[in-house]
Every structure is written in C-alpha cells, then in structure tokens.
C-alpha cells in the first residue's frame, strides 16, 4: 500500500478479507468433538420457576446434557455483576438484585434462560430445548419506566424495595433552584428517550473449550474487550483463574456497546464445556438477540431551563427516570449517571446545573451502553431545550446558541467535566453555511407550494470520549481503570507487529494504527500488522468503546513507539559513530543530520537482533511496551443541521439535507472517520424516525423481529454533507478526540428539531413515526384554525 501516514485516505487493510468472505468470526470456529448449546428461555416476563423436567429432552437423539441453574449455582458459578458502583444521594450503595446465568427461582424478563441443552448438532439441541418442560407460576409484571416507581407496582428484587436501584444527584441543587427563582424566562419540557435494540450484524456467539488435562479453558467470543471478559469471568464468575482462561475475540461483526458486557450464555457455555467434557458452541439467532442483547437508552425526563432578561442561561434542572431492565448489566449503572448528567452543560456556559436520576428495575431486557451511552440522552435533552427556548423567546436557534456558547478554555462545568479545547462557533458557522441557513425561508415557501412542510433543525452536541482517566473514574465508582496498553515489536527483518489492547469490530484499527507506524518510521503500511483480540497474545487491554481506541489506544502505541525510536536511534548512532541527537528518521531510514550517512530501518532492526555490535550495556532486541492512562476525557463537538420535508397527508418525513460539522481534533484517516459518522448518523436517524422497542403490558416484546422493529435502510437516509474543523486535543500526544459515537449523539435532536419546526408543533415524541407526525401536524393545524 505504500507509506501512508496520518491524514491519508488509506483503503482499509482488513476489507480484503471482509469483502471476500474470508473473515474469521466466532461462528466460523469448529472444533473436534464440538457440541451445540440451546437455551430454554422463559416465555413469561415475571414468574416463579416451579419445576424443570428434562426427562423427555434427555431421551432425544444426540442430547448430551440438560443443565439447570441449580447445578450452576451448586458448582459455584458466581452471579453476574455490575462493575460501576453508584451511591444514592443519601450515601447508600445501589441496590443490586442477584442475576444468575441460568435462573433457578424467579425469571424476570421474557427470554431469560433457565436451562441449557447440550447436543451433537444445533438442530438436536434446539429440538430438545423445546421438550424441556418448565412449570412456571406467573407473577404480575411491571414494564414501563414510570410505572416501576408507582406504589403497588410488582416488585422485582427483594434487594431493591420499590424497584428503585438508586436515587442519585449531581450539581448544586440549592444554587440551581435560586437561579430559577430569579429567572426571567423558564422553559419546560417532558422528554422520552426511546428504548433501542443495538442490532449488530453479527449476533453474539461463543465457542467454549475445556481442556481437562491442563484444567484450562479457551473461549472464542464476540467481545469488544476480551481482557475485561477474562477478568470478570475469573474474578467474579469463578469460571477459572486468569492464567487458566484464554479469551479470543476474533473478527467481530459490530458491537455498538452490546458486546462489551459478559452475558449468561458465555458463562454457561464455559461451564457446560467442563461438565460435558466437550467443546460447546452457542450462536444467537436474531430473535434471541432482540430478547437478550442489552438494550439501549429508555429515559423519561422532565427538564427546565432558566434564562435571564438577556436570554443567557442561568440554570438547568433535570429529573430523569432511567429504566435498567430486569437486571443490572455490566456497566448499566454508569450510563444514566456519569456518562449522562456530566454532559448536561452541552456547549454552553451554564453556571448552575442540577440533575436527579432514579434508576429502576422493570420486567424487560437489561439496558446498558449503546453507541453514545448516556451522551445521546444528554444531548437530546440539551438540544431539544435549546431549540425550544429559542422559539419561546423569539430568537433564531443559531443566535440563541451563540449567545450562550463557551468561548474560553479550559472550561469547568458545574457537572464535573472540564472541557479542554473547542471552537463551537467554527462548527456552527460551517454547518450554517453548508446548509444555506439564510436561504431557508425561500426553500420553505417553495416547498409549501408543493404541499410539503419544510423545517430546519440544529443540534450543537458535545460528548466525552477517550474514556478515561483511571483515578478519576475510580473515584466515581468504576471497578476498573480505563488506561490502554500497547507493545511494538520490530522484527529482525524490519517488519513491525503492534499488539494493542484495543479491539476492532468494524473500526478499521488494522489500517489506522498501521498509518501511525508508517508516519513515524516511514515504512510501508503493508509491513505493519496489528495484533488484537487474544488474551494469550496481548498482555492486557481495556477494549474498544467510548471512542477510546484513538485517544487512549493509539496514545499507548505512541508511547511504545517513542521507546522503540529512542533505542533505534542509539543503535544507529553507535553504528554510524554519530551523536544520538543527530539521528533523524525519515522515509524508512535513520540518517545522520547534515551528512549522507544513513542506515535503513531494517539494517538497524537486524543489528538489534544480531547484537554483534551494540552500544555498551544495551540489551539486544527491538521491542517495547507501554501503558497509557489519559489525564482527561476528550471532548469532540460539532453542529448538525438537518432539513426535512413532511408530507402532511401521511406524516412521512423525508430528510432533504443533513450537514455534520464535527471537530474530532487530529484525524488519522478521513475516509474511516467519514464511515464512522455515516454509520452514527444512520443510527441516530434510526432513533429519531424509526426505531423503538415496544412491550405489551404483560412484558411480551412486540418488536422482536425486523417485521416490527424498524431499522433504518439506505433509502431512509440522504446523502450527507460532512465537514470537519480542528482544534487539537491537548490531552494526548496525537491531539485526537474520537469520532465513533458523534453521529448517533448529535443527530436525533437535529432531526426532531427540524420536524417540529416543519409542522409547527413542538410536542412530538421520538421516534417521529409517520403516524405521530401526522397527528402532531393535524393538531397544529387545528390549533391554528382556532
């Protein structure tokens, strides 16, 4: 591919195998003597397990075993944990109910596993799973976020009276209330952030293999963070000590957060593999994915904004109820707290903010991080409020935002975050110009002639990426540190292997990380390979989520490269009898400045390994490792502008133009960044217009397939206009901020603001389905006629 450094639109190295069907996914693994697992799942949202009769299933062809929760608990397999401790405002720790990989006593959501069948083929396992007779005693279920807290609501866990997990606060309540007392204008809204299903293209899967002689397990699984999986499986679920458990996350077909967590199925597969003495494979089907992959979002909020006479924001007050589903998934507690309320200042100088969050249990699938995790929820609130406030006080939405922008950095918000750098006018200007903001009234008038309602909406988002400084998150309750590790191995022939704790499941690390090496050493990207996703190869790592692989993962690589470079320069200086300070690396060569003396990178590498002539006391070899712990979050920010036309007869929204102006700091590969933004906006538009989880009142999932769950498709989306501006992130050596989630974070309020502008009715829930838009636009017309 050649030398392709930072900023090059290098084609993705991994695409050859993906496009030609040569990827290696978990489901591609077939081991000798392998068996298949099928889970027996609850058809009820809430019920006592009275008895499990496996006698008929055990008689069926190919069946090895039917294993239940009682056996699992008896074998000492631990409960699933939530790895982030949140304390309520009264100081009490969050109330966690017991979650077992196979439930022996009480099921709490449709799809929860009570037993697993192990058989010779997948078909036999599934047939037998249907023949396991489970007797349930049905209990009343509570499904909706708001109903969970009502008196008399069915109770899920004895540990959590009233279904309340925590009642958490951030910000200065008294000062915020005082700001409201003194306000000239108060803007109020009730907002719901709809529940979503992540829907990665590849469903979850696991292949577990227990080696009896070595007492050692190998787990191939669809994970975004194999080392964290190993840590949790060892330390909490008692599957095996870490040195007796190898976790491999090979090619993974998308995650969007849902593959961060360790689920019951992987635990059960490992345990079952030891029980039956054969490898066990489990592959989720799409229905299981809808029922058991952690869902995203599901907030109900009341928000209030206080303005002074000059229309400057003086206070922001938010009350949120967050639905965590039936159990606390691995990072679920952090999403509606530290990943959410800490971003409520948006891009604005807001002196007083207070937010209260109540997290509740319901008889629904557990909810955890999904692309953006907390930050889309915050951005939706802030940006719907900004647009609404502008309309209420009669300022243009752009002007109102500008009046309140933060312009000096660093900026300490009242909700923990300290923004390091940014230029919010720059992204707003770029977006307004690209969408031709000033020409909008003429376009609206022209659309009206065609019977269409045209609207324009903005969203000036900010988010926190590059998670995260370990000491900081530790003080906020995180059970892990969020640094990253890297190792750079220069081989004797000069080719380079980079071992990283980041995990690529669609992000293109094999390309962008190689570009970094190419930039530093002037070597061909083809002579670099990126190794990730295997706990036996990579020493440790925290994985990929929260747009951390660039800002944190690549920073660790930079630190390792610094060490490699220093040693290579020492060797080169020694061999060329020059002073170390005069050695420069350029175009794959180490040169003595001001002379024509030079050595190729390969010659230096070879010298390091032959070790025939190294500086006095130097160890042979050219291989260095590093850990990098960030000093702060990074703060990507931007403006999204969306222009829509609504067909008032059907309520159908068409996105006519979508402009994304993003400041991601330094960009390694613009093509890959654009791909991330495209996908993010597609998911954001999906949330805004199409996607929503529906349960009936008994807790049956109504949207359990693509027949009823509306995924965005290519023809739902316009051709985007993407722009970038750049302020360098001062917090990491490359100046990167992160781009993986911005699209999903910034776009929903832009779309809803545009539609509410078009139909002249601000009362519109997400997703803005045609029916909802039709009803809201008719209501507006009826109001106007009065």
């Amino acid at each position: 591919m050649g030398v392709q450094g930072i900023g090059a639109r290098a084609l993705r190295k991994e695409d050859k195998r993906f496009i030609t069907g040569k990827g290696r996914y978990t489901d591609d693994m077939t081991l000798p003597r392998m068996t298949y697992a099928a889970f027996v799942r609850s058809p009820h949202a809430h019920a006592k397990v009275v008895s499990i009769d496996a006698s008929a299933a055990l008689e069926m062809p190919g069946v090895e075993a039917v294993l239940t929760g009682e056996q699992l608990v008896g074998d000492g397999i631990g409960n699933l944990i939530c790895g982030w401790m949140i304390h309520s405002k009264d100081g009490t720790p969050m109330k966690m109910g017991a979650w077992r990989a196979l439930e022996p006593e009480t099921v709490r959501f449709v799809g929860q596993a009570v037993a697993v069948v192990i058989a010779d083929t997948q078909g036999q396992a599934r047939d037998a799973a249907e023949s396991v007779v489970v007797e349930y005693e049905e209990l009343n279920a509570v499904v909706s976020t708001i109903d969970a807290l009502k008196g008399g609501a069915p109770q899920l866990h004895p540990e959590a009276p009233g279904n309340l997990i925590y009642d958490w606060d951030i910000g200065d309540e008294a000062a915020t209330n005082a700001a409201f007392d003194a306000a000239s204008t108060v803007v109020q809204m009730d907002l719901v952030n709809n529940r979503l299903v992540p829907n990665p293209m590849e469903p979850r899967a696991a292949v577990a293999d227990y080696d009896e002689a070595e007492e050692h397990y190998t787990l191939h699984t669809t994970s975004q963070n194999p080392h964290v999986a190993r840590l949790v499986l060892s330390a909490f679920y008692n599957v095996a000590p870490e040195h007796k458990l190898r976790v491999i996350a090979p090619d993974v077909g998308g995650g969007f957060g849902s593959k961060i967590f360790i689920y019951p199925e992987e635990i059960a597969a490992l345990w079952a593999s030891k029980r039956v003495g054969r490898p066990v494979k489990w592959v989720s089907d799409r229905t299981e994915a809808f029922l058991t992959d952690a869902h995203g979002r599901d907030h109900v909020s009341h928000a209030e904004l206080a303005l002074n006479a000059d229309n400057k924001i003086t206070g922001f007050r938010v009350k949120t109820v967050a639905n965590l589903g039936a159990y606390m998934s691995l990072f679920s507690s952090s999403v509606p707290t530290y990943l959410y309320a800490t971003l409520l200042s948006g891009q604005y100088d807001i002196p007083n903010i207070h937010c209260n969050v109540k997290a509740v249990y319901t008889n629904t699938t557990p909810v955890d991080a999904y692309r953006g995790a907390g930050r889309p929820e915050a951005t939706f609130l802030v940006e719907r409020m900004m647009e609404t406030a502008a309309r209420q006080v009669g300022l243009s939405p752009a002007e109102f935002r500008r009046k309140n922008f933060i312009r000096s950095f660093p900026h300490q918000t009242p909700v923990i975050m300290c923004y390091d750098a940014g230029d919010y006018d720059a992204t707003l200007d770029a977006a307004l110009k690209a969408i031709d903001y000033d020409g909008f009234p003429a376009r609206k008038a022209e659309a009206a002639k065609r019977g269409k309602l045209r609207g324009l909406g903005l969203s000036c988002y900010i988010e926190a990426c590059g998670i995260a400084p370990s000491a900081a998150v530790g003080s906020l309750g995180a059970g892990v540190g969020l640094w990253e590790s890297a190792e750079v191995r220069v081989n004797p022939v000069g080719s380079i292997e980079v071992l990283t704790g980041s995990h690529s499941h669609g992000q293109g690390h094999e390309t962008t990380f190689a570009q970094l090496i190419s930039e530093r050493f002037g070597v061909d990207t083809d002579s670099v390979s990126i190794v990730h996703g295997d706990t036996d190869k990579v020493q440790f790592g925290m994985g990929t989520y929260g747009s951390r692989s660039g800002a944190v993962g690549m920073s660790a690589i930079v630190k390792a490269l610094d060490k490699v470079e220093a040693k290579a320069k020492k060797i080169a200086a020694h061999l060329m009898e020059a002073s170390e300070g005069d050695i420069q690396i350029e175009g794959g060569e180490l040169k003595v400045a001001g002379t024509d003396k030079k050595l190729t990178f390969t010659e230096v590498a070879l010298a390091a390994y032959t070790a025939h002539n190294l500086p006095e006391g130097m160890e042979p070899g050219l291989k260095e490792g590093a850990f990098y712990d960030p000093t702060n979050f990074t703060f990507p920010a931007g403006t999204y502008a969306c222009e829509v036309e609504v067909d008032p007869e059907t309520g159908k929204t068409e996105i006519i133009n979508f402009v994304a102006a993003d400041d991601f700091g330094k960009i390694i590969n613009p093509m890959i960044v654009e791909g991330q933004v495209h996908g993010g906006i597609a998911q954001g538009v999906g949330q805004a217009l199409l996607e929503s989880v529906s349960y009936d009142e008994t807790g049956q999932l109504l949207t359990a397939s693509y027949m009823d769950y509306a995924m965005p498709r290519a023809d739902d989306l316009p051709s985007y206009t993407l722009l970038t501006t750049e302020t360098i992130c001062p917090g990491n050596p490359l100046g990167m901020k992160g781009c993986g989630e911005a699209g999903a974070i910034g776009s929903p309020p832009a779309v809803i603001n545009a539609i509410t502008d078009a139909i002249n009715n601000n009362d519109l829930a997400m997703p803005a389905t045609p029916q909802r838009v039709w009803l809201a636009s008719r209501a507006a017309l009826a109001q106007a006629a009065e």
Binding site: L689, S694, L702, T703, D708, Y709, P770, W774
Partner: protein
C-alpha cells in the same frame, strides 16, 4: 428450523401426487414466507414440495384480452415484463414495490396469493382487476378466492397454477409501506375496466384482508379524478390497529393512497 424432506416436483400432477404421499406436506414456491416461518419454528412440515421449477407454472403471456401469469412467476419477472408493463403498468409497478430485490427474485405470485397475508400487495390487484385464479382443479374469481386473513378457498392439496388479469383501460397502485416490514400499511389498487366498470381494492388496512370501497368506485365511475375520492373515507371500525398505526391513521392513508393511485393511473 425442524428437519424436513425436500422434493422438487417435475409437473403439477407430480406435485399433487407427492403431496398425497406426504404425512404433513407443504408446497414451497419462492419460500419468502414459508422459509422464515420455518426458521422461527412456527411451521414444521414433514415434506416440502417445490413448485418453482415446474415449467407449466412459469411465464407471462397475453391471451384473449387478458394477461396470464404462471403461479411460479417471480415478482421481479412481473415487474420487468414488457407485456405487463405495456398492458397493466399498475400491476408491474405493484410487483416492483414488493419487498426488496432479493425477495422479488425469489417470491412468486402464486405463493403470495395462496398465503393471503392481509398486508400483501397482490390481493388488491386481483380484486380490482377482476382476475381469475386457476388451480389444478378449477378456476375461480378473485372475489371467491380470498376468504379472509391468511385464508383462501384453496382445498387441501390444491395448487394455484396461474392467474389471469383482464386488461383494463387504466389502473394504478399506491402503497404506503409499514416503516419496519415494508409490507402495505395501506395499499390501494384502482382500475377502470374496458367495460367502464371501476373497482377500488384496499390491502394492508382491513382486519379481514383485502376489501373494496364501493363509495369510491361509484364516485370514480362518474368522475375519474383524485378530487372525487378526496372526501371519501372508510370507516375505521373494521381496520387494523397495531403498534405501527391506528385504525384512524390507516383510514386516512386509504383515502390518501386512493387519491394518489387515481392520479397515477
């Protein structure tokens, strides 16, 4: 999916004979409804008898003022057929709007009407155009063929072999797709026959499958224009109501789609 046995039928008679022998057999055409149903373990036929390779059941021809379409003809073949495009463009457009390209290349007209999904597109065309359904046992009118949601007049083992559409003076189909499945939330087929008779058939919206709107038909008989149907709404009482749309919303869509179909015809 449960285990099953696959048979490729060589002729209509062979297919019927295979069905006789099967314990709990099912005909397989494009498999775009049946296979997903089996994958979800909601159907467990002992035998699948594949009709899609029977030469007699495929193809499109013009015969005595009608267009005859073999039951095993794919949606894509109908959509791209020069004969259908020339004589009944509304029908070609309907077929071209079913599902996605993969579905259109596999799914067949015979499978679609035998399944009679209340949100399927074809039933509206058969009713509005006054089509005749031919089976290996008889011929019957579309009105007699569709008997209710997922229900037809087909007897056990009976095979649809072709559908014959009288060529209309004009016709058009307008569909409002369900945002998730892209089946019809409301699809309206309007047709004016060579004899001047007007028919308006609605799919996707009715609780009992496809239905006609006589009030619109008489309005259009005297005045073929969008305005003629703009003020006519169907009662929401017998319409479907689900998470995607209430009966009232569907009633609105029926009027809007009828207007658009008339304008397009």
């Amino acid at each position: 999916m449960y285990e099953t046995h696959y048979h490729r039928a060589a002729s209509v008679a062979d297919a019927a004979a295979q069905m006789e022998k099967a314990e709990d057999g099912k005909y397989l055409s494009g498999g775009q409804t049946l296979i997903p149903t089996m994958k979800q373990r909601l159907a467990a036929p002992s035998d699948l008898i594949d009709l899609r390779h029977i030469a007699d059941m495929k193809g499109i021809s013009e015969e005595g003022g009608a267009v005859k379409i073999g039951a095993a003809t794919s949606h894509n073949a109908v959509a791209t057929s020069p004969v259908v495009q020339r004589l009944i463009p509304g029908l070609a457009a309907l077929a071209g709007g079913i599902g996605d390209p993969a579905v259109r290349h596999m799914g067949t007209i015979g499978g679609s009407i035998s399944n009679n999904d209340p949100a399927a597109d074809y039933p509206s065309a058969l009713i509005a155009l006054g089509a005749t359904v031919t089976t290996n046992q008889r011929s019957l009118s579309a009105e007699d063929f569709f008997t209710g949601m997922f229900d037809t007049a087909l007897d056990e083992g009976e095979i649809v072999t072709s559908v014959s559409f009288p060529v209309p003076e004009k016709s058009a189909y307008s569909k409002y797709p369900n945002p998730a499945s892209r089946y019809a939330m409301a699809g309206v087929f309007v047709a004016k026959g060579k004899d001047g008779a007007v028919k308006v058939a609605v799919t996707g919206a009715g609780q009992n499958g496809v239905f006609r709107v006589e009030e619109m038909e008489s309005a259009l008989s005297s005045n073929w224009s969008s305005d003629a149907v703009a003020g006519i709404s169907v009662s929401a009482d017998d319409l479907l109501s689900d998470i995607h749309g209430s009966a009232e919303y569907r009633a609105n869509l029926v009027t809007v789609m009828a207007k658009r179909a008339v304008a397009a015809a």
